[in-house]
């Protein structure tokens, strides 16, 4: 889901940078108020986890690859605003050092994976695990459902961003200037592969770690919940 340079025209890249600036500002303000000193290492662990889990490319045999983002898990553990900052750090390093995701598309990629994904995932988790005891299997289920829905919604939005390019930018002869696939191709492709495969990967990763933490140290599962307003 890392949109490279050249797939989005200046309008889309610019708008999504402009959308992310106030989100990053609000995230800093909220995290400043809510993050406790002892949680700073968790912010780093969350960013590092998101970074490395995105390196696990999962193949669709003979087709494309995709990966989990780990962002819903970070949102469950630290709250969605801290997750936004953690995933942004991972995405910026991926773009600058490894060319994974374009630098003109950092706004778009952060909007999809560092904003939409953790927020959708976080609120799905809250809704499904509402009033569930800390050690219940409903929390594990909620984590899985949240991971699945969070990454799938983000993927659909990436598909829309790809898909509007041929409408926005084309030559007089009809050749695309940026992403050549329209909404009718891009949205089903991005939605389909995430609903069928990569959504499950995010679901399993999120649910397994939540299950592990339930046994190991349930206080981790309360930290994110208590902070989010």
């Amino acid at each position: 889901m890392h949109i490279p340079d050249g797939y989005l025209g200046p309008a889309t890249s610019g708008v999504l940078y402009a959308v992310m600036l106030p989100i990053w500002a609000v995230a800093s303000r909220i995290v400043r108020k809510t993050l406790k000193a002892r949680q700073v290492p968790m912010l780093a662990i969350g960013a590092a986890f998101s970074f490395v889990i995105m390196m696990f490319n999962v193949p669709i045999p003979g087709g494309t690859t995709g990966h989990a983002v780990g962002g819903v898990l970070v949102a469950i553990l630290l709250g969605p605003w801290a997750a936004c900052i953690a995933i942004t750090v991972a995405l910026v390093v991926q773009a600058l050092l490894f060319g994974d995701g374009g630098i003109t598309a950092i706004g778009a990629n952060c909007f999809n994976m560092a904003f939409v994904l953790p927020f959708v995932g976080y609120y799905v988790y809250k809704a499904v695990s509402y009033n569930a005891p800390a050690d219940s299997s409903r929390k594990v289920l909620a984590a899985g459902v949240a991971g699945y829905i969070g990454i799938s919604v983000a993927a659909v939005l990436a598909g829309v961003e790809f898909g509007v390019q041929p409408l926005l930018h084309h030559t007089a002869s009809g050749q695309a200037l940026y992403c050549p696939y329209g909404l009718n191709v891009a949205v089903p492709a991005m939605a389909g592969e995430h609903l069928l495969i990569f959504g499950w990967v995010e679901a399993i990763v999120t649910a397994l770690v939540v299950k592990y933490l339930q046994k190991q140290d349930p206080s981790f599962l309360q930290a994110g919940a208590s902070k989010a307003k």
């Binding site: 949109i3 490279p4 340079d5 050249g6 025209g9 400043r32 108020k33 406790k36 000193a37 700073v40 912010l43 780093a44 662990i45 969350g46 960013a47 590092a48 986890f49 970074f51 490395v52 889990i53 390196m55 696990f56 490319n57 999962v58 193949p59 669709i60 045999p61 003979g62 087709g63 494309t64 690859t65 995709g66 990966h67 900052i85 953690a86 750090v89 991972a90 910026v92 390093v93 991926q94 773009a95 600058l96 050092l97 490894f98 060319g99 994974d100 374009g102 630098i103 003109t104 990436a158 030559t171 050749q175 200037l177 940026y178 050549p180 891009a186 592969e193 933490l213 190991q216 140290d217």
Partner: protein, 111 residues
């Protein structure tokens, strides 16, 4: 052992396992992610390279492109796996340092 320590160890294990993200797609003959094709693949897919895409695609040259060392593209999977692990180490080191700096800066100003 503290849970945070265990999570750091978990990250180390993920770093060592990361080449799976390289080997499995290779084994199952899976190509690039959707919408992340290079200009050559784009030429094959749609018969031309969109002009704006061509111009912007070379805008940034990353120091470790695609988690591989420059000049190692033709080397075999063991070399690429090594480069992948080193990329994970470098990437995580930078991510952790940045996150700690941001986290500490935010906390300080909050007091």
């Amino acid at each position: 052992m503290k849970t945070a320590t265990k999570l750091w160890i978990g990250l180390g294990v993920l770093i060592l396992l990361s080449p799976l993200g390289l080997i499995l797609p290779e084994h199952f003959k899976a190509g690039a992610a959707w919408g992340e094709w290079g200009t050559d693949e784009m030429q094959k897919l749609v018969g031309y390279v969109p002009k704006g895409l061509e111009k912007l695609s070379s805008l940034w040259s990353a120091p470790i492109p695609n988690y591989a060392f420059k000049g190692w593209e033709e080397k075999g999977l063991p070399h690429l796996s090594f480069a992948y692990i080193m990329s994970a180490v470098v990437g995580i080191a930078v991510v952790v340092i940045l996150a700690l700096i941001i986290g500490k800066a935010l906390i300080k100003k909050g007091d």
